[in-house]
Structure formats: structure tokens, C-alpha cells
């Protein structure tokens, strides 16, 4: 392995005595696109955080170009040519795009920052990631999540990396941008840059990478070239056990007219210019998927139903009662209760610093109180039920929720909402950034809820999930439902065609 740019030798890292990485030997070659796979908590994040100077290893050494190095800060890693794009974006919202792109090494004139040069440089880099539509003088705060991610990529490129680390870099991107990133990585590969790529989307890994490494429980399991193993074998390596059927079986498609009044009916729902007359219904006992490209109004629809948006027009009937709930508090306590598993679990789903117990109970204090006090016995019982129902892996329920892995954090969010015994469950991309095992548990849970007569409305950016989980799928395109598929009509082809708003049969 003479051409390896970065090499780990026996790297170990512990957090409060818990092993995150154990004697890991790992290397990454120049001019390769290297995928790192593993369940959440497998040690992938720790691996890249050590490489990028955020964490220091407890044992072992890192070689860069054959020379031992140690990075005490992200800055020193950057200077050595290792640039990391983190899942949690590293952009400063109150600075402009141009300022963010050259934040650590701005162009200077007479010792002061040269703004004109800075804007020029930003334009150049934005053009390279095909984001000419982004105004370099706009505040990052004003941009959508997908645009921010592209700015983040432009910023990383600006540091002319030798090793580029992408941690779930495409999770918020539109398909067009994903293609741009693919092209870009191919270009970088030709220039001899090593890219480390972390993703939970198998087809992405398949399309992009030439080398794959699997991690499990803090250990490096195996590294192999693409094509050496089947998808099934890779998944097996990741979870260490054989996977059964990925999705729980669906009930036979019911004939719609017999089902009676739906639990949730939406007609002509409009908001700003993001929702333009959505028609939709969800019956008790079924899972309805929201499909389409990112940013076609799926998230806004769920927020609108949960009472988060102001000035929403259109007719909504929930459990026979007309009207949109005025707030999340109203939505969860109406006659027909709504629950929303939000997009961003770290800010909207959880209070990270508070205990698992407090987070689990946050939505259901009314149910466990004897006014005006919270009943400690009842609350302990409720928490235990929630933890066992979703099989949340915790040390103690009094630990802060941030000590859990991503998948278990998401389980806490879901368990919290199940405690109010909701009639309509809204899920906003609940499996984003979550390991395979937890994903399957969430699929099963959704089916169990439907079987118990609940209405489930489920947005996912992953077509395979929509195909595997949903009884019906409504595909959104610029704020409208452009297609409704059910049963066998739900295929990857039909969903992709509908999300591009083209008619395959006609074409």
C-alpha cells in the first residue's frame, strides 16, 4: 500500500469508557472514491472526526503521505489538505455566501479582507458546482437546505483538498445537485484527490465509489473493491446477521370506495407559493406515501396539517371535523389526535441535553399528571413501556438523549409521539441518516400502526421505502399532487416518471 494518502494504524477511541473505535487499521488511496459503510454507531463518524482533527485518537497513529501526523484542530487538518464536509453544516447563517466560502482564508489586500476578490472567488467556485443561481452576496440564512449544502461543497472545494470527506453530503440535495456532485467527484478523482464518502443510500454508493469499507461496532470489518460483493452480502457485513425480508408484508389492497370516510381529507390546500391546491385522503388502516423530488411541498404539507404554518387556505377534515389545527398543541389534543415526526430530530424532535425520560414524556404530560403535578409512578411506567415498545437501546432512561446513536434518537422521537396514542401519524423522512436495522424496525412499526387502525402519512426521499411500505403513494410536483398510485402501480419507474411530471404510458 505505497500509494495510500491516509493510513490509520491501530487507532482506538473511547468515550467515557465506551469503545467507539478499536485498533482500526484503515487506508485510503489517492484518486479513489472510497465508501465507508456501517450502521449508525459503527464508528464511521468517529473515524472521520479523527481524520479531520475534531477528535484526537486515544491510541494508534495516523500517517499522511507516509509521515505520522496529529491534528489538534480542524484548522490543522485543513492545512494538511484534509477537508471534511459534515452532516451538520459548517456554514455561518449570518454571513454571506461569499464570506462563508472563504471564511478561514479570505483573500486580502493591505491586510484587510478584499471583498471584491472574495465575491469573484465565490462565483468561480459556485460555477464549478453549477450553482450559478446562488447569489454570493446573499446571507446563508436566506438559502434553502439543499442550496446550503451546495455552498458547503463549494467551500470545501475552495480549500483545494487532497482528501475530501463527505459525510451524508447528499442527504439534503435535489436529484440535479446529486448528479452535479457525482460529476464533481469523478473530476476530483481524475485530479488524484481521494474522496471518502459516507452514505446510507446503497444505490449512491454503487454508482459512485470504487472501494468500499464496512465498519461494525467500532471495528473495521473489511475493505473490498466495488462489484466484489452483492448488496445482500454487504448488508450482511454491516449488521452482522442475515436480513429477512426488508419490508413487512402489506395487506391485500382494499377497494377504496368501501372504506367510508377517511380519517384525514385534504382538499385544495394552499400556502404561499409552496402548496398549490393539494388533494389527498388517508383512511384508517393505511399507509399513504408522499413521493416526488425534494422540495415539492411535501414537508410544507405535513407542517401545515400539524398547525405550524400560518395563512393556509383550503379544506381539511380530520376525523370528521373541519379545520386545520391552530398549533401543534391543538393538533395533538384534538378529538382526532395528530402526531408529527419532524424533519430534523436534533432541533425539532428532541431536547438533546434533557434526559430520555423527559423527551419521551414531552408530548404527553397531560396523560401522566394528576393536576397539577406529574405522577412519578405513572411516568416511570409510561417511559418503560415506550422504551420496550421501540426497543430503544439505552444505558439508563435518565441519560441525556444526546448520548444515544442517531437511530435510537429517532426511536425516542417516535416513541414520544406514540405515547399520545395518535390517530393520524405524520412522518417526515423518518429514516434519514439512520442505520439499516433501525430502518426496518421503523417500517414494521408503521405497518403495526396501520394495522391498529391508524392513518399514516409518510414522506420519504427514498423511492424503495415508498414502494416497500405504502398502500398508496401521492406524488407531489410543485405543490400539487400530480399522480396517485396504489398497489402494483407503485413501481420505481412510475414514481420517478410522476415526480418528473411526465407520463410514461403516453410517451
Amino acid at each position: 500500500m505505497t500509494d495510500s494518502i491516509v493510513e490509520y494504524r491501530g487507532i482506538s477511541k473511547y468515550f467515557a469508557g465506551i469503545r467507539a473505535l478499536q485498533s482500526v487499521d484503515f487506508s485510503c488511496k489517492l484518486g479513489s472514491i472510497h465508501a465507508v459503510l456501517g450502521e449508525n454507531g459503527a464508528g464511521k463518524s468517529t473515524l472521520i472526526k479523527i481524520m479531520s482533527g475534531v477528535l484526537q485518537p486515544d491510541a494508534g497513529e495516523i500517517l499522511l503521505d507516509g509521515k505520522p501526523v496529529s491534528f489538534s484542530t480542524p484548522q490543522s487538518a485543513n492545512e494538511a489538505g484534509i477537508v471534511c464536509m459534515f452532516q451538520e453544516l459548517s456554514l455561518v447563517p449570518d454571513l454571506s455566501v461569499a464570506e462563508n466560502i472563504s471564511i478561514s482564508h479570505p483573500p486580502r489586500r493591505f491586510g484587510l479582507i478584499d471583498r471584491r476578490e472574495q465575491v469573484r472567488r465565490a462565483e468561480e467556485l459556485l460555477a464549478r458546482v453549477r450553482c450559478e443561481d446562488v447569489d454570493p452576496n446573499a446571507m446563508v440564512r436566506e438559502l434553502s437546505l439543499s442550496r446550503r449544502q451546495m455552498v458547503e461543497i463549494a467551500k470545501a472545494l475552495g480549500k483545494s483538498p487532497k482528501v475530501l470527506i463527505l459525510d451524508e453530503a447528499t442527504s439534503a440535495l435535489t436529484s440535479r445537485d446529486v448528479q452535479t456532485v457525482y460529476d464533481l467527484l469523478a473530476e476530483l478523482k481524475a485530479e488524484g484527490v481521494a474522496s471518502l464518502f459516507i452514505s446510507h443510500r446503497m444505490h449512491e454508493v454503487d454508482a459512485l465509489c470504487d472501494t468500499l469499507s464496512v465498519f461494525r461496532n467500532g471495528q473495521h470489518i473489511e475493505t473490498f473493491a466495488k462489484g466484489e460483493k452483492t448488496e445482500r452480502e454487504i448488508v450482511h457485513l454491516m449488521i452482522g446477521r442475515e436480513v429477512e425480508a426488508q419490508f413487512p408484508p402489506k395487506p391485500p389492497a382494499p377497494s377504496l370506495p368501501d372504506q367510508g370516510e377517511p380519517l384525514l381529507r385534504v382538499r385544495g390546500l394552499s400556502w404561499q407559493n409552496r402548496l398549490n391546491g393539494i388533494d389527498l385522503s388517508v383512511h384508517g388502516g393505511e399507509i399513504v406515501g408522499l413521493g416526488g423530488l425534494d422540495g415539492q411541498g411535501q414537508k410544507e404539507l405535513l407542517l401545515a396539517l400539524f398547525g405550524v404554518l400560518r395563512d393556509v387556505d383550503g379544506e381539511v377534515v380530520i376525523g370528521g371535523k373541519k379545520g386545520i389545527p391552530s398549533s401543534p398543541a391543538a393538533a395533538k389534543s384534538a378529538g382526532t389526535r395528530l402526531a408529527l415526526v419532524p424533519e430534523d430530530r436534533k432541533t425539532e424532535g428532541l431536547m438533546l441535553g434533557m434526559s430520555i425520560t423527559d423527551n419521551l414524556l414531552a408530548s404527553s404530560f397531560q396523560r401522566i399528571s394528576r393536576e397539577p403535578f406529574i405522577d412519578p409512578v405513572l411516568s416511570r411506567k409510561t417511559v418503560e413501556e415506550g422504551i420496550s415498545r421501540l426497543q430503544i437501546k439505552t444505558g439508563s432512561a435518565s441519560d441525556p438523549v444526546m448520548t444515544l446513536s442517531g437511530g435510537n434518537q429517532q426511536k425516542v422521537v417516535i416513541a414520544k409521539w406514540l405515547m399520545i396514542d395518535p390517530d393520524v401519524v405524520l412522518l417526515n423522512d423518518p429514516t434519514r441518516g439512520i442505520d439499516v436495522g433501525t430502518k426496518q424496525e421503523i417500517y414494521k412499526l408503521m405497518r403495526d400502526l396501520a394495522n391498529a387502525g391508524k392513518a399514516v402519512l409518510f414522506y420519504s426521499s427514498d423511492y424503495a421505502e415508498l414502494i416497500g411500505c405504502c398502500d398508496r403513494v401521492s406524488v407531489l410536483y410543485s405543490g400539487r399532487v400530480v399522480a396517485e398510485k396504489q398497489g402494483d402501480e407503485i413501481t420505481e419507474e412510475s414514481l420517478v416518471a410522476a415526480s418528473l411530471n411526465i407520463d410514461v404510458e403516453a410517451a
Binding site: 455561518v92 464570506e99 479582507i113 400556502w271 404561499q272
Partner: protein
């Protein structure tokens, strides 16, 4: 399409633009109502009263941009004031040394604040509450009783118009040189504040350290991950705050030709500096705003108090009315939350 530069400036700086318009409207109206309005004498008097709070507002801006508060700015001003009252006199050389020593005192104290916050890992609000008390204590040692003998010529020259300045030091033909004529009516304190702002704040904002201050207040995690010099920026912010506070103290000493270790005055200045920063449109959450905006805020705060004199309002009512005006003014900042269509945006 990209927005035009001017349009973008207004939309991104709505707070300070509104505050500036308010200040201009208030001050012009005041001059119309004043029997000797639009005269050099009135301008000189007004700027004299506003200079110290203007410096303090700039001092407070930096910690606020970081997302914190500095409760010691008034005390550092008082300490510098007392040091100046002892040192700023004698030969011209001694006077210059005294002024530099005064500024160095405040700057060093600011640096101390910064080091305590960074290396002691103590929240700014509580660290500066403690160091503020220490500063007052030191001030009382330097000057147990109010008094002092600051150089009289200097006092006269710096607290009047440009003509008086030139006249005092016999510069530019005693102020009668033709090239000085367009400027003779400008009050010197106004020039001093502008000079400090332009020579210190404006360049600072364009350094990496200055930008890091904004980045920390806006998203500290992102600032760290971007490899910015976080500790250096924190210390620099408090140091610069100390410098501005000492400018205020020095000016106060020159203006009153004395020093006074007055605890109440220090506290009042600290609170007013926070009010000025907020009025200027700087966010208490950090990351948005600037020292120029705070100067505008300080101006508004002072102009309101000028109105009490010409309107003959009972001085006893002054705190009540000032409080209400402040409340109304900061409420403008809350108007945006009514227009927000996605309630989640309120928490971001």
C-alpha cells in the same frame, strides 16, 4: 436574478437603516423645537453629552456580537476615567503619555476579561459582573474622592468646535485658515467618535478576527468546524471592548476635568450601553449588527433625553418615559415575527 446592491443592503440592514432614519427625524425635529436650534453651540453641547455613551455603546457591541453581554463596560470606563484624572496633565509629553496610559489601562482590562472568558471558560455575563466590581474597586484606590486636575486647554479644545480646537493650539492660523473654514463648526467630540469608529472598528470588521466574532455569534459550531481562530477572536472582542470603554472614560475625564469612582454612574452607563446596542438593531443573540449601528442607537438614546429639557418635562418622569420609549423602540424588532408564515422559523 441577483438583487441590486442597494436593495440588498437595505433588506439585510433593516434594523440600522430604520434606527438611522429615526435618529435623523428625532434630531431634526429637536432642532426645530429648540429656540437656538441648528447652531454650533447646541451641536457642541449635544455631542459632548453623547460622546461617552457612544464609546460605551461601541464597547458593548463586541461582546453582544459574540452572543454575550459585558457588564463591566461602565466600570472600565470609570477606572479609565480615574486613571486619566491623575495622569492627564503637565507638559505636552506627559499629557500624551497620560492619555496612552489611560487607553492602555482599559484595553488591558478588556484583554483580562477576554482571557477569563476564554481560559476560565466562564460565561461573559458573570465573568464581567465580577471583573466590573474589581474595576470599580481599583478606581476607588486610584481616586478615593472625586477630583483631579486634567489639563484645562485640552479640556477646552476637545469639547468645543473645530475652530476652538485650532484656536487653542494655534493651528491653521488659529482656526482662520481658508481650508479649515468648511469644518470650523463641527463639534470635536463628534469627530473623535467618528475617528475612533472609522480607524478602529471599520478595519477590525474586515479582518479574519473580526469576521470570526460574527461567526461565533451566528453559529459557534460552524465557526469551529471551519477552522476559525475562536479563542483569539473572543479575546480580541473583549480587548477592543475595553479599548472603546477607556476612550469613553478618557473623554469623560477631559470633559469634566476630573475623575469620579461613581458606582451608580458606572451601572447606569452599562445598562444604557446595552439599550443603545439593541436600539441600533444589533441582535442580543449575536452575529448580527455592528458598532456603527450602536452609535446610532446611542444617538437615539441621548436625543430622547434632550427632549426632556426643551419640553420642560418633570425630571422625575424621565426614567418612566425613557423606559417606555425603549420598550416601544425594541418592539419594532418583533414586528417581523408577525409576518413569519412558518412558525418554526421563530425558533431558528
Amino acid at each position: 436574478m441577483h438583487k441590486s446592491t442597494l436593495k440588498r443592503y437595505f433588506s439585510q440592514n433593516l434594523g440600522v437603516v430604520t434606527a438611522s432614519l429615526l435618529l435623523i427625524a428625532l434630531y431634526v425635529t429637536y432642532n426645530f423645537m429648540h429656540p437656538r436650534g441648528f447652531s454650533t453651540a447646541v451641536a457642541v453641547q449635544n455631542t459632548n453629552e453623547a460622546a461617552a455613551i457612544a464609546f460605551l455603546a461601541m464597547a458593548q457591541t463586541l461582546p453582544v456580537l459574540l452572543g454575550g453581554l459585558d457588564l463591566s463596560v461602565g466600570a472600565v470606563m470609570t477606572l479609565s476615567n480615574c486613571v486619566a484624572s491623575v495622569l492627564v496633565n503637565g507638559t505636552p509629553g506627559e499629557i500624551v503619555f497620560g492619555m496612552l496610559a489611560t487607553l492602555a489601562t482599559g484595553t488591558a482590562f478588556g484583554a483580562l476579561n477576554g482571557c477569563i472568558v476564554v481560559y476560565g471558560r466562564i460565561q461573559p455575563i458573570i465573568a464581567t459582573l465580577a471583573t466590573g466590581a474589581i474595576a470599580i474597586g481599583l478606581a476607588l484606590i486610584v481616586r478615593p474622592k472625586p477630583g483631579g486636575d486634567v489639563d484645562g486647554d485640552l479640556g477646552w479644545a476637545l469639547t468645543n468646535s473645530v475652530w476652538d480646537f485650532a484656536d487653542t493650539y494655534e493651528l491653521a492660523d488659529g482656526g482662520d485658515a481658508w481650508w479649515l473654514q468648511p469644518f470650523v463648526d463641527i463639534p470635536v467630540p463628534f469627530l473623535l467618535v467618528v475617528l475612533v469608529a472609522v480607524c478602529v472598528w471599520v478595519p477590525f470588521k474586515r479582518t479574519v478576527t473580526g469576521r470570526t466574532v460574527y461567526a461565533i455569534g451566528s453559529a459557534e459550531g460552524a465557526a469551529f468546524m471551519s477552522g476559525l481562530p475562536i479563542d483569539r477572536a473572543r479575546i480580541a472582542a473583549f480587548t477592543l471592548g475595553g479599548f472603546f470603554a477607556s476612550c469613553g472614560g478618557l473623554y469623560l475625564a477631559i470633559q469634566t476635568s476630573s475623575g469620579n469612582a461613581d458606582l451608580q454612574q458606572a451601572g447606569a452607563y452599562t445598562l444604557n450601553s446595552i439599550a443603545a446596542v439593541v436600539l441600533g438593531g444589533t441582535s442580543l443573540l449575536g452575529g448580527v449588527g455592528g458598532a456603527i449601528a450602536s452609535l446610532v442607537g446611542a444617538g437615539i438614546l441621548r436625543v430622547i433625553s434632550f427632549y426632556f429639557r426643551i419640553l420642560d418635562i418633570d425630571p422625575l418622569l424621565q426614567p418612566l418615559i425613557e423606559g417606555m420609549v425603549l420598550l416601544v423602540a425594541v418592539s419594532f424588532g418583533a414586528i417581523r415575527t408577525i409576518r413569519v408564515k412558518n412558525k418554526l422559523d421563530l425558533f431558528r
